[in-house]
């Protein structure tokens, strides 16, 4: 039959052995069930570690839930955290679909933020330009900044076959230093590592802005960037699932040789995917500084571009699934600050990723425990 070679593995027990048999067909429900199962196992494992260090896991989890989904106010804050995660998550999901391991979303986010800041600070549009002009220009600049940063490793990969993992990772550090140069140097606000605050025309509107008319919205920080992110997810979903380009990406991702045989220009697609992927991450940078920080500053991103890798993976590179996963991680980041500045939330994230990757084995193999009897079941 057409199944690949099996991977028998014998565990020490002399009576039983665990066998992995390649699966020919995986039922449709299996993949989502495994994802949920993996997250559940991860929470149990994290709970054990929490208990070992002396915390009550139930109380910790309850606190996480309360501080991220407990009220409209914190839900709004969760969505604010989720916004850059959605956009960078989409950036990774797109590149990963073509097996381009772009782990440079962080750097592309920073360059997007820088380019958007430049619109106001260089300035590219004169001061006093109304918001409906400034904001679109900043959006475009953010996209282009990220796209440019993505095109560098894209070009190196397409032209010289340079490994994109190394290139994108290294470019993250350059981007970080680039931002530092500007916020410490030319754009510094009185010697602090931040620029001056943008004029209000360059702020993405928040729900709070409508508080005069609808007092109930008062204090809600969620900004238009969230809508942009969700819209980007829908557009990307359409492009990947319903367009010829999405088909080409799928084909190259699975078999570059087959794609070449089908007449698809691979180098061109590497450039395009890197540009769009970088651009999406750049948008995340723009929405973050324009919707939240209102200035460019040192360390405004707590590593969104790295968390995005986990988000994309958890979403199985599916654009629409990126949104809920990013919200979950946004909640984790938000609640994390309440619990502990860095340790616990990062640990939970890490354990979730491990469990998720480990669970893939069940998707590809059927695991059975067989009795190691001296003779196989006698047929007759």
């Amino acid at each position: 039959m057409s199944a690949g070679p099996g991977r028998p593995s014998r565990w020490a027990g002399s009576l039983f052995s665990v066998r992995l048999e390649p699966r020919l067909y995986a039922p449709r429900w299996l993949s989502p069930a495994l994802t949920i199962g993996a997250v559940a196992v991860a929470l149990v494992l994290s709970g054990i570690i929490l208990a070992v260090v002396g915390a009550d896991p139930i109380r910790v989890y309850a606190h996480i839930l309360r501080s991220s989904f407990g009220s409209i106010g914190v839900i709004s804050d969760t969505l604010v955290k989720a916004t850059p995660l959605i956009l960078t998550g989409l950036a990774c999901a797109l590149a990963f679909r073509m097996r381009l391991w772009n782990i440079g979303a962080e750097g592309q986010l920073l360059l997007g933020a820088w380019a958007a800041s430049a619109v106001v600070l260089l300035p590219i549009v004169p001061a006093g330009t109304p918001g409906f002009i400034v904001l679109p220009v900043m959006l475009v600049a953010g996209f282009l900044g990220g796209a440019f940063w993505g095109l560098i490793p894209g070009f190196l990969k397409a032209r010289f076959g340079v490994n994109e993992i190394i290139a994108t990772l290294m470019l993250n550090y350059i981007a970080f230093s680039w931002i530092q140069y500007w916020v410490f140097g030319p754009w510094t606000e009185g010697g602090f590592q931040m620029t001056k605050q943008f004029p209000p025309e360059a702020w993405l509107p928040r729900l709070d802005d409508l508080a005069d008319t609808y007092p109930v919205l008062s204090g809600l920080t969620v900004h238009t960037g969230f809508l942009i992110a969700v819209a980007a997810a829908v557009v990307l979903w359409f492009v990947l699932e319903r367009s010829a380009w999405g088909y080409e990406i799928r084909l190259i991702g699975d078999s570059p040789r087959a794609a070449r045989y089908a007449g698809i220009r691979i180098a061109r697609n590497i450039l395009l995917v890197f540009a769009v992927s970088g651009g999406l991450a750049g948008l995340a940078g723009m929405t973050e500084i324009s919707g939240v920080v209102h200035r460019l500053q040192d360390n405004f991103s707590p590593g969104y571009g790295y968390t995005a890798i986990i988000v994309a993976y958890l979403a199985k590179f599916h654009p629409l699934r990126v949104v809920p996963v990013a919200i979950l991680f946004g909640a984790l980041i938000l609640a994390g600050r309440e619990i502990q500045p860095s340790g616990v939330p990062a640990m939970i994230q890490g354990i979730i990723l491990f469990c998720l990757i480990a669970s893939e084995v069940f998707l590809r193999y059927r695991v059975s425990i067989v009795r190691r009897a001296p003779v196989a079941a006698e047929a007759r």
């Binding site: 057409s2 367009s243 010829a244 799928r250 078999s255 045989y261 067989v370």
Partner: protein
Amino acid sequence: MTGGPARNAPSGPFGMDERRVSEVEGPLAVELRGIVKRFPGVVANDGVDFALRVGEVHALLGENGAGKSTLMNILDGLYQPDAGVIRIDGQPVAFGSPRDAIAAGLGMVHQHFTLVASQTVTENILIGLDRPRFRLRLARYDDEIARLAETNGLHVDPRAKVWQLSVGEQQRVEILKVLYRGARVLIMDEPTAVLAPQEIDDLFGTLRSMTAAGRSIIFISHKLGEVLEIADRITVMRRGRVTAAGLPATSVTKGQLATLMVGREVLENLERIPMPPGSVALALEGVEADGDKGVPALRGVSLELRAGEILGIAAVAGNGQSELAEVVTGLRPCRGRVLIDGQDVANRPVREAIGRGVSHVPEDRTGVGTAPNLSIVDNLIMKSYRASPIAHGWAMDMSAARGVATQLKDGYEIAAPTIDTEARLLSGGNLQRLILAREIDSRPRLMIAVQPTRGLDVGAIESTHRLLLERRAAGAAILLISEDLDEILTLADRVAVMYEGRITGQFDADEADVERIGLLMTGASAEEAGAIEAAPASRGAV
């Protein structure tokens, strides 16, 4: 013993009971009894019995998907049977893994080699063994392996790196690997599929000397001629069941075996209607190209192929015929001129060749011809997704794509549960049907078919040949690259022989002499072979 299940009893003129024979004729090395293996939706083995005597070559014959490989994977410990008994030398065994099978003296030589190209023969043979433990005293093992090779008629240099070896030599390394592990029973999974005619003769010599030394061999194949040549006895399977058990090879004919295998009579009566000479569809002028390793693969090839004509390229693997196909389809850069309908397309993008109506049945079906993890739909629209009815500007009409795929799946009888099944789950024959469906349905003007029937079963070969001839009758020019000389002589109007990147002879197919072509394929000069250069192309009627 004689009261075996009635459904396995051989029928018709072959009503011989192998169990009675086997009791008469000596001990059994391997005995499989009532083996059942189910996969979701298929019963791959449905109560299969199989008996291998010590010292015989026993062929296991069947079409793709008949259950031969499943049965052998069970014997080799890769799969667990759902029911049934395995006996080795009369003792019941239960294998948990191939390691157990090796320990019991069983060794499987897989169709696809599992060698490390950058290591030597000796290193490859020692991989996975407990010896040598720490210090690699390879010289000692080299000698040991050289002796083992010599006693079994397997000529290969233990110090050579695997990448330097021909396919036939690599296969010998695989055989040595299992012999070195002490195998007394060898399972050979379609060993001739990758070999040139001369290499097949060498292999058969090796098999005979191994059986003479008391080893037993299970020879899996679906090629009737070679089965009759090498096997002592033959067991035929169809759809998971045994249709004839242990027939002596001397008592059957090809036709009878084909009937047992396919379940109906197979007559390859192909009609090759006379075609008037068409215009020149493909012309190569002094084409040179380098192979993957940078060494010249094509050294000045000139050819002409007309509409309505099949030109067969006869060559032993690795003489430039694969590169020839890639040059024409735009996959490989070259020097010289490649004219399709008079337009030079050398070094033009692949897309341009596709646009000019060139279709390509590639040699590598899993790596090039299909994307393994994508669905049948995605694989079938690989060449047509840019055009109507599937393309709508930059968007794709997925329901149109599914419509096209459903039509092709039904029309070309691609056996799969749904059109969403991933290509990697298809059997070899079905995968090739998928590729042929895609490449033929585009109604190509020029078709490059590389090894179109390699590894296919009788029924599938017949239908592939028919499809190619239909295309020819519709006026397509077909470049048929095959290592199967019979295939070329059955289908082609003209035959060109390639050796080391050059065309060493061209013949009209009905004047072609197999022996002369064979000599040219192996490097004899045209004078030695007494070849007559046929007038290029232009011959219409067959």
